[in-house]
Symmetry: C2
Subunit: 344 residues, 2 copies
Amino acid sequence: MEEFNVAIVGATGLVGEEVVKILERRNFPVASMRLFAMEHSPGTKLFFNHHKIEVEEARPEVFRDIDIAFFSVGEDSSRRLSPLAAEAGAVVIDDSPAFRMDPAVPLVVPEVNVEDIERHKGIIASPGGAAIQLVVALCPLHKVTPIKRVVISTYHAVSDGSTAALKELTAQAKLVLDGRRVCPHVYSHQIAFNVLPEIDVFLDNGYTREERRIEEETRRIMHARDMAVSATCVRVPVYFGHSQAVNVEFAVSMTPEEARKILAQAPGVRILDDPSVSFYPQPWAASGSNHVFVGRIRKDVSHPNGLVMWVVADNLRKGAALNAVQIGEEGMQRGVIKPGKRRR
Amino acid sequence: MEEFNVAIVGATGLVGEEVVKILERRNFPVASMRLFAMEHSPGTKLFFNHHKIEVEEARPEVFRDIDIAFFSVGEDSSRRLSPLAAEAGAVVIDDSPAFRMDPAVPLVVPEVNVEDIERHKGIIASPGGAAIQLVVALCPLHKVTPIKRVVISTYHAVSDGSTAALKELTAQAKLVLDGRRVCPHVYSHQIAFNVLPEIDVFLDNGYTREERRIEEETRRIMHARDMAVSATCVRVPVYFGHSQAVNVEFAVSMTPEEARKILAQAPGVRILDDPSVSFYPQPWAASGSNHVFVGRIRKDVSHPNGLVMWVVADNLRKGAALNAVQIGEEGMQRGVIKPGKRRR
C-alpha cells in the first residue's frame, strides 16, 4: 500500500490532537509524520505511533515534501498558509472556515458528497461541526423526499473553541459552586450554569456567523440550493458534543417510521430512540464516539409535512477531526490524493 | 382597603417560598396568612412580614376561612385539594397542571388574557413557566399580525422541579469537576455538563407532556385555536431561568423593527437586543427579575413571514410565583376575588 508524508498543522490544538489520535487508530498509511504549530514552542513534543515528534513552527517553506496536510488552525492562518502548502504540492484538508464557501474548493462530508473530493485543486474544506452532523442526518432523508426548510436550534459545547474555553468552563463552575463571582474571559458573559445565544460575531441581519455558516454550508454540502435554513446557535455549559433540535419540512410528508428506516441504513448515523426508557442522544454520552446520533424522531404537530428530531455528535470527532481524516482516506482511495504526485 | 385571608399551599417548595416573598414585596393586602405543606413537618416555621408562622399540614378542612389560596403543589395533590378549597369558599390560584386545560377553569397570564379571570368558579389556573414567558412575548405581536405557527426549542432550568433537582445539579457538577462518576437520581441521566431532551413523561406521539403543555396552553391563553405550535423541551445545567429559541410565522410579514416597537410597549416585556455589544437575554442575568426578556429579534431567513427571537424569564418569578400573585391582584381589583364573599 502506498504511504504518505503527512503533516498536521495546528497539532497542539484540540482538533489537531484528535487528528493525531484518529490517524493512529485508523492505521492511516503514514510514511512520515510532521507536526506543526502556528507559534514556535521549542521542545514541545507529541507522540505519534509511539514515536516522539517535535512540534515545528508552521512556516511557508515546510510543505515541500508533504503529501497531505491536515490544517486545524485559525481562519486567518489557514487563509495565509493553506494556498502555499497546496502550491508546494500538498493536498490540504482544512478544518477552518477560510475556504468553505470558495467555489473552487470542495466542501466535503464523505457520507454526503464524497464525489466532490475529485474536483479538488489542492485544498479540500471540512465543514463546521454543526453543519457536519446536520447533513449526515438530513441528507439520507432529503434523497428520498426533498427537504424544503430546516429550522434548527443548537446546544453548542465549548470545545469548538480553544482549550482556554474548556478551562474557563471548569474555572467558572468551581467559582460558582464556591459562591464566588465569575469574570468572563473567553466568552462575552459567564458560561457556567448559563446559556449564551452568541457563537462567533454578529452579522448585519441579526444572525451570527456560525448561524450563517450552518445555513450556507448545509446547502452547499447537500447541493440543495433552494433549501431554506434558519439556525439559532446557543452555547451551553457542556464540554464535548453539539446537540441540535431540528424541525424539518419536506416537500411531501414523511412518517417518523419511514425516517427511522432510512436513517437506520444511513452511513455514519446511529439511531437512539426509545422514549419509553428515556433513550435518546446526549452530548455527555456521545463524547468520544464517531457517530452522528439521532433520536426523538416524531411528526411535527405544527406542519403537515414536518418532522422533528434531535441530533447529537462529538464536535471534535465527526464534527472536525474524524471528518478531515475520512476526507483523506476517501481521497486516497479515489486516487485524487497521491504520494509525491502533486509535487512540482 | 380590603384585606384577605391568604393561604399558601406548598409553602416550603421553591415556588411557594417565592410566593411568600413576592406577597411581602408587593404589599399584598393580607389580613391573615397561613402556610401549608402537603406533609406534616411539626415545628417548621417560615417568616412572613417578620412574623414567624408555623407550617401546617394541608388537610381538606383547613380552607374554611381562607379567601385566596395559592397552590404550588404536585398535580395530584392539587387535583384532590383545590376543589375542596374552592368549595370551602376560597379562590384557588393553582400553579400545577391539574386544571389548566379544564374548560371550566380560566388559564390566565394577566398581561395576555386578564379578562378570563372574571369567569372563574373558584379555581384559576396559572400556566407552566415556559408557556407564560412565550405568550407574554408572542401575544402583543399576534394582536397586530396573526401568528400562524410557532416552532420553539427550550433551554429549561432545573428549578422547575424540586429543590432536589437544584441539589442534584450542584452535587453532580462537583463530582464531575473532581473527575468522579455521577449517579443520576432526579433525572434519567446526568444533567451536569450535559443536556437532556426530556421534560416530564413521553406521550404516544413522541412529544413530552411538557412540550404538549406548551402547545395547548399557549393556544388556550392566547385564544388562538388555529395557531400551530411545536416545542422541543431540553433540560440544561442552569439553576434558574428558562430560555427559548422561537421561530414565529405570521400571516403576513412583520419586520424586526415593527416587532421591536410593539414589544417595547408590551406589558411585562423588556427588550435586551444589541448584538454589537453582545447584549441579549441570559438566564443567569434574568434570575431574580420579574420581566420576560426578549432579544435577538431578526427576520427568519428561511420564511418570508418569519421572525426569530430569544426569550428568557425567571421560571420561579414570572414563570410561576409572580404570575400567580398577579392573578390574585387582578382578581381583587376586578372584584372577582372578595374577602369573605364566596364563603358559604
